[in-house]
């Protein structure tokens, strides 16, 4: 849909002419979030996909309500957009939709130190928000690896998790209430709403039920002390047993990150005479491509290695079993040290204490992983991640089944980085390569289909903290069996015209006017 002059003028009358973006450069900039699929499309120069009819930048609830009224009248889909760091194409529309960029909701409204909460507008960048909290002596405790490039509203809309989730919880544990403008144009502040509390419906709704404008989050005094260490285990089972025991011991670490053998191999080259050829060569090859731009020869070798995914994955299984753990405690006083030492003592019963250095190194480069994807894509491959979750007793089985499903197609490694007393997430990273963009897209789709079918088959949850977007919609109903009826009820309540991000979270309903899918 090309926006007619009349329609454009209508939008301009709501948000102002300068805040209706229809230039080619603007539409192109909003045709993707940070999903690897979008990058494959960009690299393949398939640029039309995802371009909206227009982008609008409202400022204030009244303008948002005006947009909702306009969309309902014209039957136009509205796609909420924060900082666009999502990796599931949740904020990507199409030529029939209008993207609503919420970044002008950019104030930190009120820090209530007595109540230990902060009210912040949804469009505030996550890092700028947390930095300001810390300047004032507080923290919200939410540190996703996307903190530089994500918005507070996006954290809530996609049910995100931060690296210190073992101490602070996921975003749904941190958020107290939200203020939304629904598809009916109603403004709901869930803090003031009579029961039942609708907050859990809007958290994770990914713009399908309303525009989140403000968020109230719990805050804690900024930690002044930290203790990080690394550990090594003979195999994954030992590592998983150790972190399960740790979480069920009543000790509360801030960070727990157990890397599987492949991820351990890539993170740190093994040392000592025992390190075999594969254990030296594989990480070296991968790291070369990750750390510097490779020449044509290196590029070919890199892609050839990835295309032998089945062989490489099998070789890692055969020759490598060691797993590395990073564990960290953060807190306020010397009581923390006692607790940290108790935790470290427990871990020493299962593995080798590598000391402070690996932990501190991880902490120093804690956001570095997101930079690694550029060299991979530049070298002609692709990388994506799949974050799933289940209970402890099902964890290793889920891990094996997903790995087996992916292994013939892509390199697959994993870490366990959000752990709870009852279970854990598994964060799979997979790397693939193909000759053409079309083949890469197909391979990418195959990996997702095989992977999430395996998750479903193993009884795990398909998403731990990246949300659903459009990439995982075929599986949402398996995670919440029968949940689609509930979702439709919520849509009826909050978005009866189906104008809010149709086709996201759950597959498009027949009654929704248009599909905003890639």
């Amino acid at each position: 849909m090309t926006l007619s002059n009349d329609r454009r003028a209508e939008l301009a009358s709501i948000v102002g002419d300068a805040r209706v973006l229809t230039d080619r450069a603007d539409l192109l900039a909003y045709n993707a979030d940070c999903s690897p699929r979008g990058i494959i499309l960009t690299r393949g120069r398939r640029l039309e996909a995802g371009q909206p009819a227009a982008v609008v930048q409202p400022d204030g609830v009244d303008e948002l309500r005006g947009l909702v009224e306009w969309a309902a009248r014209t039957g136009t889909a509205l796609v909420a957009y924060g900082d666009g760091s999502g990796v599931c194409r949740g904020a990507v529309g199409n030529a029939d939709s209008v993207v609503v960029d919420l970044k002008r909701f950019d104030d930190i409204l009120e820090l209530d130190e007595d109540r230990r909460s902060v009210r912040v507008q949804a469009g505030v960048n996550g890092y700028l928000f947390e930095r300001e909290m810390q300047r004032r002596g507080w923290t919200a405790g939410h540190f996703p690896s996307s903190i530089y490039c994500s918005s507070v509203g996006g954290w809530v809309a996609a049910r995100g998790a931060g690296q210190l989730s073992s101490r602070y919880g996921k975003i749904e544990d941190i958020v107290e209430s939200v203020r939304v403008v629904t598809g009916r144009g109603d403004v709901i502040d869930t803090a003031e709403s009579p029961p039942p509390d609708p907050t859990p419906w809007f958290v994770g709704s990914e713009g399908t039920l309303g525009f989140i404008t403000d968020v109230t989050l719990q805050v804690e005094p900024k930690p002044a002390d930290r203790h990080y260490r690394g550990f090594q285990f003979d195999d994954l089972s030992d590592g998983l047993e150790a972190i399960r025991r740790l979480m069920q011991s009543g000790l509360r670490p801030a960070v727990v990150r157990l890397y599987d053998p492949f991820d351990t191999l890539v993170k740190k080259a093994p040392s000592g005479d025992g390190a075999g050829t594969l254990r030296r060569a594989l990480p070296a090859a991968l790291r070369t491509a990750l750390e510097a731009r490779v020449d044509e020869w290196g590029r070919a070798a890199f892609n050839e290695l990835i295309r032998r995914a089945g062989w490489v994955n099998g070789a890692v299984d055969a020759f490598s079993s060691e797993c590395r753990l990073i564990v960290g405690y953060e807190g306020h006083t010397e009581t923390l040290q006692t607790e940290a030492e108790a935790g470290f003592d427990l871990l020493r019963r299962y593995g080798v204490d590598l000391g402070v250095e690996p932990g501190e190194e991880w902490r120093e480069h804690r956001y570095a992983v997101s930079y690694k994807q550029s060299p991979v894509f530049d070298a002609g491959a692709f990388v994506d991640t799949m974050e799933v979750a289940t209970s402890w007793s099902n964890l290793e089985s889920l891990y094996q089944r997903v790995r087996e499903a992916l292994a013939p197609h892509v390199l697959v490694m994993a870490h366990f980085s959000h752990v709870y007393t009852a279970g854990s997430s598994i964060y799979f990273t997979f790397v693939g390569s193909a000759d053409t963009a079309e083949e890469a897209l197909e391979l990418h789709q195959t990996a997702w289909r095989r992977g999430l079918d395996a998750v479903d088959g193993a009884g795990g949850s398909i998403a731990h903290h990246h949300g659903v977007g459009s990439v995982k919609t075929p599986w949402t109903g398996r995670d919440h069996r029968g949940g689609e009826a509930g979702f439709r009820a919520l849509k009826e309540a909050f978005d009866p015209d189906g104008i809010l991000n149709p086709g996201k979270v759950y597959p498009r309903a027949a009654t929704e006017p248009r599909e905003a899918s890639p």
Binding site: G204, A389, A422, A463
Partner: protein
């Protein structure tokens, strides 16, 4: 004259709450029967109020009379215990106190945070609006809507697969359906201590319970629960953890909270006994007292829209204050999912 009984099968239970006694009281003894009672063919034209033990029923949430009552208390089995995951799966009609004692017999315990009335069912605690902090500990659940749709939340400690559909049942007072089974995360199984703070300074406004807990938290001392007993002038705080940690915490606690208070440290058994007394006696009494203050709150329009979708035949007599359509012939004929 009515007596304030807690027995939902007694007419006085309803009269004392300003409601007419139900036409029928059903007590299904299996999940299958419970589900059929809610979502299956109707035997009467009256809508249903779902109750566990009735300890948290909010009369103002009942929207239509006359009604029948379905009591979940007959569905109270422990289905399974997963000691590796630290979870227990129960039928939602099981009482909190009973479940805690069953787990204790197995050497297990719940995530220690919070105190709940021993005589409330797990389903009732979850469904009650604004009562339970148990929601985040629900690792899995099954439920059924009034229109006969089954719902199942795949087991996981946390997830990001869209809006949290558990909360169409948790906190919704049975407006849209009934919670059938629940998988709850069990807590750590470490040592425990009961700290008893006393002294005149407890009367001070600065030493209100929330502030005291915050002070402890600021020093990374995590209270599992706390209880201020006004008559005794004692503030009880339960802490859990390995012995070395508990000793370190105890060494700091007095100074952190207030040097003006006396602190007596008791062991794990005292901690457990104190919790039993609070949950079995003091909390139920408090819940009854709170119920007397319950008032009708305004119901938002959106709630009616959800109700109309998930309970389109008006099977359930709980929910938004607006008029619920009367069932004309029969309820839904059964589930379709």
């Amino acid at each position: 004259m009515t007596t304030d009984t807690r027995d939902v099968t007694e007419p006085d239970y309803w009269k004392s709450r300003g409601l007419e006694p139900p036409g029928q009281v059903y007590t299904p003894d299996s999940i299958r029967a419970l589900r059929r009672r809610i979502a299956g063919p109707s035997e009467s034209s009256r809508p249903i109020v779902i109750v566990g033990t009735g300890s948290h029923l909010r009369p103002s949430a009942v929207t239509a009379e006359p009604f029948d009552v379905v009591v979940t208390r007959g569905c109270a089995r422990v289905q399974s215990i997963d000691s590796t995951s630290g979870t227990v799966t129960v039928e939602a009609g099981i009482c909190w106190g009973e479940l805690r004692h069953r787990l204790r017999d197995e050497g297990l315990q719940f995530a220690p945070n919070g105190l709940y009335p021993a005589d409330s069912t797990v389903g009732g605690l979850l469904a009650s609006a604004g009562v339970s902090g148990l929601g985040p500990d629900v690792a899995a659940m099954t439920a059924c809507t009034a229109s006969g749709r089954d719902y199942s939340y795949a087991e996981a400690p946390r997830k990001a697969a869209g809006p949290d559909m558990r909360y169409l049942f948790i906190g919704c007072e049975g407006a849209f359906g009934v919670i059938l089974t629940v998988t709850l995360a069990l807590g750590p199984r470490p040592d425990a201590r009961l700290w008893r703070f006393s002294g005149d300074a407890l009367e001070s406004e600065d030493l209100g319970g929330v502030q005291l807990i915050d002070r402890l938290a600021d020093h990374d001392i995590r209270a599992a629960w706390s209880w201020f007993d006004e008559s005794e002038g004692v503030w009880d705080v339960a802490v859990h953890g390995p012995e070395a940690v508990l000793e370190r915490w105890a060494a700091r606690a007095g100074e952190v909270v207030s040097p003006e208070l006396d602190l007596e440290v008791r062991g794990a058994e005292a901690c457990r006994e104190r919790r039993d007394v609070i949950e079995a006696e003091q909390l139920p009494a408090e819940a009854a007292e709170k119920r007397g203050r319950s008032t009708q709150s305004g119901q938002p329009e959106w709630l009616r829209h959800i109700k109309n979708t998930l309970d389109d035949s008006g099977v359930l007599a709980v929910g938004p204050g607006a008029e619920v359509p009367k069932p004309d012939s029969q309820r839904n004929s059964g589930g379709d999912s």
